[in-house]
Symmetry: C2
Subunit: 370 residues, 2 copies
């Protein structure tokens, strides 16, 4: 059979660019580094902002077994610039998410490089032409994954950090009957203005690199200057003043400030695809559960039926403690548990073992409540 | 007489570039906008970092009269990106600095556009070739101004905000016998690491604009993209999360977030000279009174003899409350007075009248103490 005969026009009738132009080859987005994971096809996804994402594939990983009653599932979406792999440190027999008891699903965000993303989508929808994604698009895609693929109707727990918290909030507002417990960590239901400004600076840091070429760079690591600038901004806003003044970065073994800035922050961001990061950043920027209630945030939060532990990082500079506190007051069945750490927004990485211990304890406690 | 005969070789033996190449014409740096001011020549200034700043001129403004005993002088250096003009709102008969009682001197920083600066210095020392200035160079230049020009041996008060606070600290550590009272507002004696990172992002924001041309742009407003990026960073770190979440920017009359970002932050920075800003930024970055005591900050602070009011802004994101507090503990005769404002670092502009009232009261109180 010829290639033409093999085509499935219902899925991708693209006779031109998509067959003659290629995607970006970036070895960072591989099973080797972020796997093992599988992909679930959800077909064409009509996006909140109006466009359609073709042949959407959601990468995901699972741990443990779904029980017969299908009531032991935990959904754990990930943060900006990460993948499901970065969440696995919380999973294990001695970890808060125990795979011998729970079926843990780690969905990958649209745009993170494993799911359908700018770098792995062919023209005319790839790179800078990738459509704008909304947090709710991810949550609707995850809803398809857990209902269509696994037949799950109720989740024991949804939790996540940063953009994972944004997804958690969208879940419990959009599908209030489907979630029993929730732990949004270091994130808010509506993105604070200062966080929007921060996202703007991140996007601009990348786009202002002439090698970004308006989003049509050809090599995966062409935009290093922009990514370094982006990493530097994160080293400022993603940490805290105290982390630096107390040199707490020494605890995980960094030997100098430069060592920390280079081998933590640059190491983290430099391998990534600039358009993938921008795709996620724009999603982060617009995250707002009040899109479910015509802009009424209180009304949206009051819809929540899950038992919620709101867990801000005390020194977080953009998902600030006071913003989390304000929202928590409107969530019917909730508790505020600020995480005392100098690692600011990056506290969830557990660079200081005390941070992870604190989070572990809270999640364990939440799972034990009825 | 020919031009050659008029030359004063002792001051500027520059037969080449300085006579054939020009400075940057920027109408922002004018008597019309920042005047009236005078200039005091202090000749060639040997700089802390090793180079020499030729024909250094310090612009300054004064209010009131120096009394016969010469004991009523107040020195009020200014912050980053400002000039002495921006300090004048604190001067007046109903203001904390009363010119009918005090002789108030407002020196302009080297590099701020009125004093000797990158944009008004000819090649081979202008623009990107302007030498690195240290806060102590400014303070030594100001020392020359007040002793040589006015014969002042003791200052009743030194005060300043941000880089003005850095200069204040350098004054009271370097010349402890010469200052009776001091009010460092929204600044520290040693620049905190997060503030250094912030400065790095500011410098990079400007330098990454291709029109910056490695510092050799030809037109005064060629680097608008870089300056806008620089303004955006300030809108994030120079304010506070609460200013945005509570929309406190509405109080001075801004009608929308965009109105505030454009007509406050861009309006402030866009007319300025990029190299001038970078000159000041580098000074800010390295500010550290412990350069007087071989790196021993406590020893430096303990040298202070002035009565000191340490006045951080509560929500300041880079000269943070906790950093100011830590330093204050080592200053023998000091009090900590945190300023309760959501304007963060920009609290001193008095955009909220309550902020200015708070600062006014404290300065008045400090001036009344013996």
């Amino acid at each position: 059979m010829t290639e033409k005969n093999n085509k499935k026009p219902a899925e991708a009738p693209s006779p031109g660019a998509s067959r003659t132009m290629s995607t970006i080859e970036n070895k960072y987005y591989s099973q080797q580094i972020h796997g093992p994971y599988e992909k679930h096809s959800i077909g064409n996804l009509k996006l909140k902002e109006g466009k359609t994402l073709r042949n959407t594939k959601i990468a995901y990983t699972t741990f443990g077994e779904l029980n017969n009653k299908k009531d032991n599932a935990i959904l754990f979406p990930h943060m900006y610039s990460g993948t499901s792999k970065d969440m696995e440190m919380y999973i294990g027999e001695n970890q808060p998410l125990d795979p011998t008891k729970y079926f843990i699903i780690l969905p990958n965000q649209i745009g993170n490089g494993l799911s359908t993303s700018p770098h792995n989508t062919k023209p005319p929808n790839g790179q800078a032409d990738f459509p704008q994604i909304n947090i709710s698009d991810d949550v609707r895609a995850q809803h398809k994954l857990i209902t269509e693929k696994f037949g799950i109707e109720k989740l024991e727990l949804v939790l996540g950090w940063s953009m994972g918290a944004q997804q958690t909030y969208e879940w419990i507002v959009r599908y209030p009957e489907m979630v029993k417990k929730a732990a949004p960590i270091g994130g808010t239901a509506k993105n604070p203005v200062i966080s929007k400004i921060f996202v703007d600076t991140l996007i601009d840091a990348i786009q202002s690199d002439p090698n970004y070429r308006h989003g049509y760079y050809k090599k995966p690591h062409a935009v290093q200057q922009g990514l370094k600038r982006h990493a530097k901004l994160f080293s400022m806003m993603g940490a805290s003043s105290k982390l630096y003044s107390q040199k707490d970065w020494k605890k995980p073994g960094f030997t100098s400030l430069n060592d920390f800035l280079t081998n933590f922050w640059n190491e983290w961001f430099l391998p990534m695809d600039p358009n993938n990061l921008i795709c996620m950043a724009k999603k982060w920027r617009e995250a707002d559960v009040s899109q479910n209630t015509n802009g009424d945030l209180k009304k949206a939060l009051k819809r929540i039926k899950a038992k919620v532990y709101v867990m801000p990082f005390e020194e977080d500079m953009f998902f600030t403690l006071d913003q989390c506190e304000k929202e928590e007051k409107h969530i019917p069945n909730s508790e505020l548990h600020p995480i005392p750490t100098t690692w600011g927004h990056f506290g969830m990485l557990g660079m200081d073992p005390n941070d992870k211990k604190y989070i572990n304890n809270k999640i364990q406690k939440l799972l034990k409540t009825n």
